[in-house]
Assembly symmetry: C2
Homo-oligomer: 394 residues x 2
DNA sequence: GATTAGTTTGTTCAAACAACCAACTCACAT
DNA sequence: ATGTGAGTTGGTTGTTTGAACAAACTAATC
């Protein structure tokens, strides 16, 4: 209510942002096309564009093709790729993933840094090294625009509220880097940024209003896009479906959680226990499965069933247009996905929600963070922005 | 994006609606107060109000008190209660509930009509009787403004897509009454309207962004308010939590649903079976429980546990500010509610979501429908409107 | 010449503003 | 007690402002 447009100034600001969003989403695009898309007079668009150009956000790319019945060639406009860059991090269990992106979401660099067993205070200097080395090579006009961190855990008010494997050492990342660089710094749950990635980087999802991204890593969480907005919940804990318990009419004491049965960790541990092995990794499971190991096959068969059940429950809870699975294990064993779909199809009464695997899950979390922090840098949190999907770079 | 305000006309329309919303939410209110609340110039508010008065939506109520340091008395403005009325129906298992409301949400009349065992085609004449008798007594300027129906089942695109106990007989209610009266006609799931009731009629929830209303009747469903908007899902099936299945690592065949364990029906049937009785009703269960019957006590103890589990799962799925329970059984046995809270508190790790019983659940569904259809009549679907909570009338 | 892209110049109209009137409170003098 | 005037607040009236718009222009193409 209080954010509603009420006077000419606010209207003007919003129209400027609408033009910027059009350039973002349809670049390269001409003024006249923006005018048609937004139902704004072409002279209005020209004036608004002039403002954006003065700020440096956009630039002309040269001329496009004229219409085939004659007429002046349009001037193609685009986001200024040399305006500045964002730095996006993902605190994985083994690696710190580091990505540098431009304003348009293009990947400028990507790197993995081994951090297994390190504490956050030991990781901080490594982050600073990355920031410094990127900064040294930078030739953009505005430099660093913002920093995002994908957190495997829950986040509220930019603070980590639960972190299963990385000890936060009472470090306030947001405060530290905001002080240091005077740019937006953003912490967000990994399933949430993954969901934002699907919304903003995947053109196939452009028209979808509701999406659920189920992330199966060491735990299980869902990122929720509801009405094209990220739903974090009141305390940033929406979609913590891994904590769900079974309602079966007669349980006692502390009931077991979904995560205990079918997170990647749970599957690996189960196989490890049954085979009396130690220190097994995902790669071991993949290898065993491909070798036809019976223990592994049966564990993964149960995994398939359980994931199907989780999808079924998510479909009933959220009724999305689509469900994405972000799971490194499934990414390496894609043949399991059709099996999941089959089991799910048997459970669902009428409506079948499409299921897809998130491709390149490392990139997804980083790009989702990139979207969120870029939006914050532009003050365009709620606009519809389609970023480039240049995941093939590098 | 396409619905964004872009020109002066749209801005003007929105500001008119903002003024109307202010009158709605804070009536009686003066022009100067609206001006301050909306940060609009007082002359602008006067002009916008003039428009609304010409349309008949608002009226002056007389003068208010002057400030205690002197100054002219304000003129108090309010919604015109004689503008028109809405008719709101709830298809219960035993009764058809009928409510007439004015533009402000005040209850003008309420009635239950016995419909047990009747088909929809037999109920239709009864509905028409109610509409006719209300219309005959009407003295408003615009008469019938809209009709809403609360459906115990799922609804998509104003069509019933699933109806567990009432056979819809292929009747298209929306089409039939729109043709007949040329007013908005609205069908909505009963848990959803109940959630809308909590949002719009309960002033205590004014600031809450996310709410879950769990409806436990013959089935179990949840109405979801997310970011202060009703989330219906892509097919109107969001919140169908009664269909959730247990993920326990080793199930086969069709797994049992939550509804099978702890809907009101399931509880009654279980007690009935164990006591070898027939045709038991909720009242019988309440009586048996109050008489200290052991079978009933143990069934309700399991019910308490299961409801706590459902709340816990809902909290993890949606992370709301509050959970409401709309359950006639709990309304009649309110002493169970603290027990539910206790079991839930033991399960939840850190964040405890407040739990409340929806008071007067019959009224809740009707008033929720009233809100939705009134909004449609006014073209103010997305505005924040606080309706009056005159549930004590009658 | 017909057509399309973009600019310039002047118009429009809803919100903001300024100045006003209306009606009240309170302090103080009578 | 009562009359008066200064100060305050609610609301209206007439004018100004400024962002979108419209029309007439230039530029560049078929």
């Amino acid at each position: 209510m209080s954010s509603a447009i009420r006077n000419r100034m606010q209207l003007h600001q919003q129209n400027i942002q609408s033009v910027l969003a059009e350039v973002f989403n349809h670049q390269p695009i001409s003024r006249i096309e923006i005018s048609r898309n937004l139902a704004l007079n072409k002279s209005t668009v020209s004036a608004l564009y002039r403002d954006l150009k003065e700020q440096g956000y956009v630039e002309e790319l040269g001329e496009g093709d004229a219409s085939n019945v004659g007429g002046r060639k349009p001037v193609l406009l685009a986001i200024n790729r040399r305006y500045g860059y964002t730095m996006n991090f993902d605190f994985g269990y083994r690696h710190l993933h580091v990505m540098q992106n431009n304003l348009s979401g293009d990947v400028l660099s990507y790197k993995q840094v081994n951090v297994k067993g390190l504490t956050l205070k030991q990781i901080l200097p490594l982050i600073n090294d990355e920031l410094a080395s990127v900064s040294a090579k930078d030739n953009t006009s505005h430099g660093l625009l913002g920093i995002s961190f994908a957190i495997h855990g829950t986040v509220d008010h930019n603070q980590v509220t639960y972190s299963p494997f990385l000890d936060m050492d009472h470090v306030d990342l947001a405060d530290y880097y905001t002080q240091e660089f005077q740019v937006p710094v953003l912490l967000e749950n990994e399933a949430n940024v993954s969901a934002v990635y699907e919304r903003d980087f995947n053109k196939a999802n452009d028209q979808l209003k509701n999406m659920v991204t189920i992330s199966i890593h060491r735990g299980i969480g869902a990122g929720l896009i509801i009405n094209q907005k990220l739903h974090r919940g009141t305390h940033g804990e929406a979609g913590e479906i891994g904590r769900s318990v079974s309602i079966d009419g007669h349980w006692d004491g502390a009931p077991r959680k979904v995560e205990d049965y079918c997170s990647e960790d749970a599957v690996i541990n189960q196989i490890q226990d049954e085979k009396h092995a130690t220190n097994m990794t995902r790669d071991d499971v993949v290898r065993l499965f491909n070798e036809g190991d019976e223990v592994t096959k049966s564990a993964l068969a149960a995994f398939v069933k359980n994931v199907a059940g989780i999808i079924y429950n998510a479909a009933n809870n959220y009724d999305p247009d689509i469900v994405f699975l972000n799971s490194p294990l499934l990414e390496e064993l894609p043949e399991l996905e059709p099996q999941i779909e089959q089991v799910y199809a048997k459970m669902a009464p009428s409506i079948l929600v499409p299921i897809k695997l998130t491709q390149n899950s490392h990139y997804a979390t980083l790009l989702g963070g990139c979207s969120l922090v870029t939006r914050e840098a532009l003050g365009m949190e709620d606009a519809k922005l389609n970023f480039e999907a240049q995941t093939s770079v590098l």
